[in-house]
């Protein structure tokens, strides 16, 4: 139970239930879709990119608590970041979820509120849930126009 609470922290449950920045964004100039066919999670990500600055970001979709909370927290942290900063953040976030070693305090600080996902490390099957929004962000920034599929 205690380690389950580490995975399903209050912040995650809250964002899973009441995702922030959820809805359409008509003025978006970057869009991408993400899909996890295994569990059916789907995300549409809308980004307003001004030069290389993420000015606004919203998402729509349905899925498990981990994928929804991750996308929600991602949108709250991205605004005002440069494209390069956003990509670097995903790399750090990905390391947090997949590294064999506990994250250092510096790393956790850099990740700010994303650190609540550190519990996912113990559930390798759920890493793709936690990264669906981020993979979709990369696709939006890359302008691939293809649906991102995590499996």
């Amino acid at each position: 139970m205690s380690d389950l609470r580490e995975l399903y922290q209050e912040v995650i449950l809250d964002h899973g239930k009441n995702p922030r920045n959820f809805g359409p964004l008509p003025e978006a100039n970057r869009e991408a879709h993400g899909h996890n066919p295994l569990c059916g999670d789907k995300i549409a990500l809308h980004v307003v990119l001004d030069g290389d600055l993420v000015q606004d970001v919203k998402f729509e979709g349905a899925g498990c608590a981990i994928s929804m909370a991750s996308a929600s927290l991602m949108t709250t942290i991205l605004k005002g970041k440069t494209e390069a900063e956003a990509r670097a953040l995903f790399e750090q976030f990905h390391d947090l979820l997949t590294s064999n070693e506990e994250a250092s305090l510096d790393q956790l600080e850099a990740l700010d509120k994303l650190a609540v996902f550190s519990g996912v490390r113990d559930y390798p099957l759920r890493v793709k849930c936690a990264t669906l929004g981020w993979h979709t962000l990369n696709a939006a920034l890359d302008e691939t126009g293809e649906t991102v599929v995590t499996e």
């Binding site: 139970m1 380690d3 609470r5 449950l13 569990c39 789907k42 498990c64 981990i66 099957l125 849930c129």
Partner: protein, 416 residues
């Protein structure tokens, strides 16, 4: 909560059966006892199957139908004995009507590719049900791309049962095949397969039955049913993975062209012309899953030691108990409430995604399936992306259900 042991069905020695499955003694991470409720995905293996397979590899293994030496002869004997066990299990008239495949999926693909391409043309219709597994949908879609056939889908009602009048209305003078599951893997529904076959035959239409979820629960007699094709996979029947069965009526199989070319399926080969082997070898190109077939035969032998009527009574009592327990929980909905069901319960918990449910249950040592169960049209029918599915095996008992119910309460506590 009722105590487990006291209400186990008498005359069915569940404790003895549980001892036949060594994996049930395994401890899951966190020190939890294993509660295995995913037999519909793949059944666990009794020791008898494990031993039979280890014995072949350890003492009696060689390639079959090739060597002139002792080991090849006994491996061949065991392999062909397994075929006769499957024949007896299905009540088929001849062992040459039993084709070994990799799984049920390959068996259906074999029929679609071989019988389908030889017999169906543009505009011909194949009737499927709305509750088919993807394995009984996609091969027909591939055939549709190649030949221009049409697929007609017989709908199900809110309980997940076939709507009989709608099914009857699916038939036209262009209907050539009904491809229908015997038991739905996502809902547990048992279809009225005997009536389906009789009705199809009245319309001059052949029937392929996907029996993968049926054979672990229901005694099947393909001759009494008059099934034209009946397929199942070995790993859901307590046998190994990688072995499946196609039963086909001899006359149909005789007339069908080979599915794959290679060794084993030939009589003579020259670069000008090849003649094919007799049934069943015509459809078994290449070295088959020798030990898999023998393992499947051992699983059938194992099942023969069990009183199936008692096992069925136990399973139905367990299913009723599960329905009752879940009905006592708030905000749990069951998908698949047809009157005829096998021991399988698909459900959703309000406010908790099946994937999260699966993770939390796993934490309690409970193995369930969370997802679309390779039956996305069923999920669409009920308007859900996925469900959580608990499915029983021979070894399932009341403790398993009680543990599941506790796990669901934990989910509700976390997501409440």
């Amino acid at each position: 909560m009722s105590s487990a042991a006291s209400i186990n069905t008498p005359s069915f020695d569940i404790e003895a059966i549980r001892k036949d499955f060594p994996i049930l003694a395994e401890t899951m991470p966190g020190g939890k006892k294993l509660t295995f409720l995913d037999s519909a995905a793949s059944a666990q293996k009794p020791q008898a199957v494990i031993d039979a397979m280890a014995n072949v590899y350890g003492h009696e293994y060689a390639n079959i139908h090739r060597g002139v030496y002792y080991l090849s002869q006994i491996a061949t004997d065991h392999f062909e004995a397994a075929r006769r066990k499957v024949q007896g299990f299905l009540g088929a008239a001849h062992d040459r009507e039993i084709i070994f495949t990799r799984n049920a999926t390959e068996a259906i693909n074999l029929v679609a590719a071989s019988w389908g391409r030889a017999n169906l043309k543009e505009g011909d219709q194949v009737i499927l049900s709305e509750m088919e597994h993807h394995a009984n949908i996609v091969p027909w879609q591939l055939l549709r791309e190649q030949t221009g056939i049409e697929l007609v889908v017989a709908p199900i009602d809110d309980d997940g049962a076939l709507i009989w009048e709608e099914f009857e209305n699916c038939f036209t003078d262009r209907t050539k095949l009904v491809a229908m599951t015997h038991v739905s893997n996502a809902l547990g529904t048992v279809t009225p397969i005997a009536d389906i076959i009789r009705t199809a035959h009245d319309h001059g239409t052949l029937v392929l039955v996907d029996g993968s979820q049926a054979v672990p629960h229901i005694d099947v007699d393909v001759v009494a049913l008059d099934a034209d094709f009946y397929v199942f996979t070995g790993h859901k029947l307590y046998g190994p993975s990688g072995i499946g069965v196609l039963y086909g009526k001899e006359a149909l199989l005789e007339a069908m062209p080979p599915y794959q070319g290679g060794g084993e399926m030939i009589a003579t080969v020259t670069f000008e012309k090849t003649t094919y082997a007799e049934l069943p070898h015509k459809f078994e190109a290449g070295t088959p899953n020798i030990v898999g077939a023998i393992g499947l035969g051992a699983a059938i032998d194992y099942l023969a030691t069990i009183d199936r009527a008692a096992a069925d009574a136990h399973e139905q009592a367990l299913l009723a108990y599960t329905n009752e327990q879940l009905a006592g929980l708030n905000s749990v909905r069951i998908y698949g409430t047809a009157p005829q069901k096998v021991g399988l319960v698909s459900f959703a918990i309000d406010g908790a995604h099946p994937h999260d449910v699966g993770t939390i249950l796993d934490h309690e040592g409970i193995a369930v399936r969370a997802g679309h169960h390779c039956a996305q049209p069923v999920m669409d029918r009920f308007g859900v992306p996925a469900t959580t599915r608990a499915s029983f095996g021979l070894h399932s008992d009341y403790d398993d259900v009680d543990t599941l119910v506790s796990g669901i309460k934990l989910v509700q506590e976390i997501f409440g």
